[in-house]
Symmetry: C2
Amino acid sequence: MPLPDRNRRIVLAAVPVGLPLESDFLLEEAALPTCPTGGLLVRSVWISVDPYLRGRITGRRSYVDPILTGSVMESGAVGEVIESRHPAIGVGAFVTGMWGWQDYAAVEAEKVLRLDPAEAPIQTALGVLGMPGMTAYFGLTELCAPKAGETVLVSGAAGAVGSAVGQIAKILGCKVVGTTGTDSKVQYIRSLGFDGALNYRTDQPYPEALARLCPNGIDCYFDNVGGELTDAAMTLMNFRGRVAVCGQISQYNDRSKDVGQRPFTEILVKQLRVEGFIVTRWAARFPEGRKQMATWWKEGRLRNEETITDGLENAPKAFIGLFRGENTGKALVRL
Amino acid sequence: MPLPDRNRRIVLAAVPVGLPLESDFLLEEAALPTCPTGGLLVRSVWISVDPYLRGRITGRRSYVDPILTGSVMESGAVGEVIESRHPAIGVGAFVTGMWGWQDYAAVEAEKVLRLDPAEAPIQTALGVLGMPGMTAYFGLTELCAPKAGETVLVSGAAGAVGSAVGQIAKILGCKVVGTTGTDSKVQYIRSLGFDGALNYRTDQPYPEALARLCPNGIDCYFDNVGGELTDAAMTLMNFRGRVAVCGQISQYNDRSKDVGQRPFTEILVKQLRVEGFIVTRWAARFPEGRKQMATWWKEGRLRNEETITDGLENAPKAFIGLFRGENTGKALVRL
């Protein structure tokens, strides 16, 4: 099959103000990249949209450099090798890497991970066996370190990370309560084995709703959301409770200041430990995490829902949908 | 010398609303307590007033049961044994315990620690070699774990805990910045070796004032104060910084809610660890901490200022003064 001669890619057109708009992104065409010496040319099969990308398009340095306007939206992707100048990875192999929202990419072999389609569907490398899965596994086990019988609260519980957190906590013998935004997601997380679920749009006020769901208080809080839900969770934390701060999706698009109840008196009086994390902290241990998650997945103890959008051109829409709660489980774009 | 027949003691008369008033306390007279079997009768020589006592007179359970109205104000004290029914502790010995704001107390021998007046002035058992000293030592070394060359910020830096924290951090090779409330306290903490000092009443706005004092950011924040100073400190924390939450004195008397900048986005993006603590967590290690602090104190590397008020009847005034910033170093009442 002759190689195509054009490459479509989505670049950041403007730094979004508040909730990103489709017009903040631009679909452009460029020449097909050249397979680098010792590297690969890949055709994207799946690309990932993740809430953390909002932090990368603020125009400011956060924990990594920002994606600048005019640059391709960098994110996780899975693709098939269509040309190889690497001795060990042939044409037809499937790999995952960070080449982002484009049809084709030239990548260095050291920057991709080879996938075995016989082991698990290749797109799980962007979800339960990839970054969101590692985020759930290491964030929960290392920072919350839940003990059997403890109560674990996870916010954003129907998302790629939250749904994995809740299921891992159940495997570890905890009572698990999740928060999410629709009744169908409440049903979804209950079907995963969650003991309780709060619909943040309807189950208010939060302190009373959470107190009903967590009659023994909260020992571990895995927070993807922030805002008033977190205010309420902090008041219910138990003595020596642990909070893993994984995301603050309620705040990502808000230009105003994140003003609310300060948590420090709760932290003091109950001797809480609150820690924020980016999963790359445990990069050296990803093989261990991937092995454990793959084992649970193959045993059927870890289910993963996917919300699939078709077409590269629809990646911005799928991304924006994350902030509207349009996805259940991992949000993916299929090319 | 015949024993006296009356005992003066200060009891909680009313749960304070906001800043405590002298009328929230009552000086009452009672019969001299009887020396218990196997125990001691002590005459108070020094009694302690500490900010944490505010949390014990709210009428609500916090990390310990509240002091109820009509009960003696329980707090640290140092006294001389005037009657003994214990084989190893004779009349004339000095001991420290938690018998609180009263002239005389009957105590169990197991609940006091014997002091050696030749080693250090006996009232240091309420300050640098006692609870405040242990709070500084364990809170800083265990939760902040500062490394040489790092920047340590301590709020409430001229108080009993804060002044010890800053000096320990200097011994450990850190750059140390403190916050306090008067120019004379700024001079005091500079005389202790602090590299920088912020007067929170005059050096505003805090973010800019702190940024000038901490040009390399803040690696460790030992917080005694909370409120807007803490909001500002959080924005200057460095990647993987540590925050030890020891006190929130700016909030103890405020009946309104503690509303301000939520810290969770800073915690997330910089992967901060924030932990609250009560020093009794390390009670089993107090002998180790006391030994290290006593060594530094004898070497002259750890200075301790005292603000002394005379007369049991003035204990409420000395206590209230803590919240007005009237003390430098350890606030003590001498009987």
